[in-house]
Symmetry: C2
Subunit: 199 residues, 2 copies
Amino acid sequence: MPKIVDAVERRRQLAEAAWRVILRDGLEQASVRNVAREAGLSNGSLRHMFSTQAELLVFAMNQVVERIEGRLGALDPAGDPRATAERFLLELLPLDKERQEENLVWLAFTARALVDPELRECAERSYDALRAGCRRWVAAIAGDQVEVEVEADRLHAVIDGLAVHAATRPEVATAEKLREVLVRHLDTLGGLRYRVRNR
Amino acid sequence: MPKIVDAVERRRQLAEAAWRVILRDGLEQASVRNVAREAGLSNGSLRHMFSTQAELLVFAMNQVVERIEGRLGALDPAGDPRATAERFLLELLPLDKERQEENLVWLAFTARALVDPELRECAERSYDALRAGCRRWVAAIAGDQVEVEVEADRLHAVIDGLAVHAATRPEVATAEKLREVLVRHLDTLGGLRYRVRNR
DNA sequence: CGGAAGATAGCACGACTGTGCTATAAAAAA
DNA sequence: TTTTTTATAGCACAGTCGTGCTATCTTCCG
């Protein structure tokens, strides 16, 4: 096996170990030692792949983005703009356990990014990417009927707001409700206003 | 001066010192020592008011809620439902520096609440309160035209989403934009759909 | 005045932290 | 084979952490 590939794969596994620690005990518990133990490695062994803790955390945060982008890239962008946008946006919501956990980890990183410049860069990049996506989708769905900028920001806010709610109140903000709210928002975007949809 | 009042006031001052530390360096830096230094007190002196760090943080988080509720309580609830709701909801957005800082501190607490049961209680309480408020306002504005439950959740998502955006991208999500998005959302709530408003 | 109660200060302990460093085991290259 | 790189392990240092504890100082009450 080529060693480079192994090294990258190893880093990914360590990132996942970091995710597990963050999910279970919070980002403040994601110390070098704790992550190493979670991965079944020794202290120094982890530091052979990430020479500093900051490097590990930055990688782990970017890895979350890559995972999400991977899922989005696997979606079929063909067909009716409205249906396509709905498919992509629903993919972004934490509707199953995997995405719920991902969402929790992501929020932990986002919160630290408010104070850590290295993580902030990643947070801002993904913020801008999602905002651009919202703009495109709004334009595709109802570009001729609405002010795209404002509606893009509003859609963006709905998405991130729903993610926060799913994290802080999973018993209340269930997958059902998240989906319902997003679909309703898209319905009201294009002047369709509460049309009955066949689901 | 009665001593009880002093003690309460002292705790409030310590909470504010904690806020400053959290705002500047993040919640993970809000150690007993750091907060005490920020307040100009000694280690043991702080621990005379809060016998444990957890107690301090819970108090500081609840104090944020009290401050917000205080501002909301000072608003005049009379008049046109739509205008009243807009006034209250705009009060919740981080439109000036004071509320921006408050918002950052609040988000830090919310993030830790995902992992800390004591803080979680406070987060859930305020989540439920805001959700109930959204329900009332939606009902007052357009209760006869929409499904209140879904619309309340949607409004709630917009508010929290905007708060997150103001925190993670203050240069992009400016006060202007936040206000614009919220007003637009309220406009589209009652079937008014982009009516020109006199501001 | 004396004494009790409260406030402030600060030390001590054991635990955990990031990281520099060295030593051993494995693998790859020569 | 020998040599050289790489991986893994783990110790050591200096620092911070929460908290228990005692000692001083202030204030107030009787």
